[in-house]
Symmetry: C2
Subunit: 366 residues, 2 copies
């Protein structure tokens, strides 16, 4: 039943619905995805040189200018993937102003281009039951602050009386409690793997690993913190020492199975460093540890014994700048008879790998 | 206890922790907020002309270039507010690449500058109990799809057995289920007003009013939809006709008080249009209606009687392009003896006003 007529508003320019002060109407589409090709466009009539930079290519891709000042470039035959890109305009890098799908990684805003295919099936949005992703807060006595975290509860959690195992999933340096939800695609990976029966329904808790921050930009009572990749106290053990505050809050707030066999911790880069430390500080609280392209705490590179009371899983790319310390750490584990499972992939220190590692790690849990 | 030594990683350039392919390290701060002045900077060595455009000024503000190619401009003596801005670089508008606090409004990425003060107290993050903000899904039989929505549950919801009233809060044209959480600052406004006792604890449900979409960019199984301000079926009654699907899902999933006296609907611009239609379609289900800078459905401009079985609240700015139809609608209400409460503010069709209207509307509910 269509009770309502089209309003007079149809006759107004659509852009009027934007905020009045700041209108901008692109007259072209970017990105335009045709099969495995990505065409990107930008209006920059006075620019001398515009290149595409993105993780679909190891070199900048030149764009060409038409008579109206619109620059166009195409990236051909890419493997299906969620790509990030920027434009390099005469030496400065900016996001695609025509693309409303963006994300922040550390302090940089990237545009995203999703090229669907077999390779992206694990983290595409499918017509399966979706979990709920919540941003919520816990009180940290050790810092005297409320701190924000993200929590995934599996589809059906709200109407169920079941209790669930918990994975604590940690971000890298410069990231925050949003990171695994954007480029990490964690909720999509969980939705899909749970739906196909490959992964047990679980709660996933994603805190802010920068102990001197309370929350992501715009969400913190501490105000705006200029972007930096290195915050105080992020890698001096303070976060790990306070970790039980979060675990206790989660166990008292959500229907968790609150024992070692049903609790895991994993993270990427700095989050892998945190995860290993946490596993050693609380040997009876975590049954599984995942280290994705992990930074390795110094003492373990210097031969400190890993008292491995957990299932330890490690992954890294063959081009990762942390490959060597990981190789040294693996040798130490081998020499001291500590077991682990290891995945080596192509590529480097990238979200493409971390999405892969998460999808490989999850089926091993619980 | 600091059990862990600083890692060797301290010796590496911090930027290495970013994804390897795409590094960018700003060597200046932007925005820099000093009292009521905002200084903005951008590296653009080859640009001819760079201006700041933002809702802190009615005219572009010129920036000046230093010998290194960094452009700087300062906006002086602004009223405390959450401002949005871009740089106009030789005719194209881009966000501030040094500012990690951004948002999307319709199809445009803006940078944000938060100037704290008395005027922003209502929506700043304070040290008060914070509600939980969840992104979750309901099944819509009428469209055959799962559709995503945002829901605010007040602080303490998870550990309480109480039931709560519900406000359905709708976005404008081109917005989506994220809009009220970013520029709308709805969760901060609710946290603050509930903490001071001015507003009853409530659940706030923020759906996607574009019935042909399932979810915000990147979250939809329908893939990437190029940005547009006018989607099919957004203002033909289809969304309103399907609205009870959402209400039924919410009432069966959350601890709601499921009656007219404890259910409200409000929205901005197109969302105000939806709200009025919903109030007329379901006169026994909603006790309160809020219209913020609302588009007015044609039949009500042409004299159709508003069967007002709800508390009706309206607000608009004196410069809003929808001022005249709102004035005509108010006259019709007056002529037919239908009561309402009305707030007229300065300014136009802006988030500054919608934050104000929400903070004025909430205390009247329930």
């Amino acid at each position: 039943m269509k009770r309502f007529h089209l309003t007079f508003l149809c006759l107004l320019p659509a852009a009027l619905f934007a905020q009045q002060a700041l209108n901008q109407k692109p007259d072209f589409v970017s990105p335009e995805i045709n099969g495995n090709n990505i065409t990107l466009r930008m209006f920059a009539p006075n620019a001398n040189n515009v290149n595409i930079i993105g993780d679909f290519a190891s070199q900048p891709i030149p764009m060409t200018r038409d008579s109206l000042g619109v620059w166009t470039g195409t990236v051909y035959d890419v493997v299906p993937e969620l790509y990030i890109y920027q434009f390099d305009v005469d030496g400065y890098k900016i996001a695609d102003a025509s693309n409303s799908y963006t994300c922040r990684d550390i302090s940089t805003i990237y545009s995203l281009a999703f090229v669907p295919g077999k390779e992206t099936e694990k983290y595409a949005v499918h017509d399966v039951p979706h979990g709920t992703v919540s941003r919520t807060w816990y009180h940290s006595d050790s810092t005297g602050r409320d701190r924000r975290f993200t929590v995934y509860t599996p589809a059906g959690y709200e109407k169920s009386n079941d209790s669930y195992p918990v994975l604590y999933l940690l971000h890298g340096m410069g990231g925050d409690e949003e990171a695994w939800m954007t480029l990490g695609r964690a909720s999509q990976i969980l939705d899909n793997l749970i739906a196909e029966g490959a992964v047990k329904p679980m709660i996933v808790v994603m805190p802010n690993g920068n102990i001197d921050l309370a929350a992501a930009p715009g969400e913190s009572s501490l105000g705006y913190v200029p972007p930096t990749t290195r915050l105080p106290h992020t890698m001096d053990g303070t976060f790990e020492s306070s970790f039980k505050e979060l675990v206790n809050h989660v166990d008292s707030t959500y229907r968790t199975i609150a024992d070692k066999e049903h609790r895991a911790v994993a993270g990427l880069s700095m989050g892998g460093y945190h995860s290993l430390n946490i596993s050693q500080m609380y040997p009876n609280d975590f049954g599984y540890v995942g280290m994705f392209s992990a930074a390795i705490p110094e003492q373990f590179l210097n031969g400190a014994y890993v008292d491995n009371k957990q299932d330890l899983w490690m992954a890294i790319g063959e081009d990762d700048f942390l490959y060597e310390p990981n190789a040294k750490f693996r040798k130490t584990l081998f020499d001291t008879g500590v077991g682990y499972v290891y995945l080596e992939s192509k590529g480097g220190h990238t979200w493409k790998n971390w999405r892969l590692y998460l999808s490989q790690f999850l089926p091993r849990l619980f």
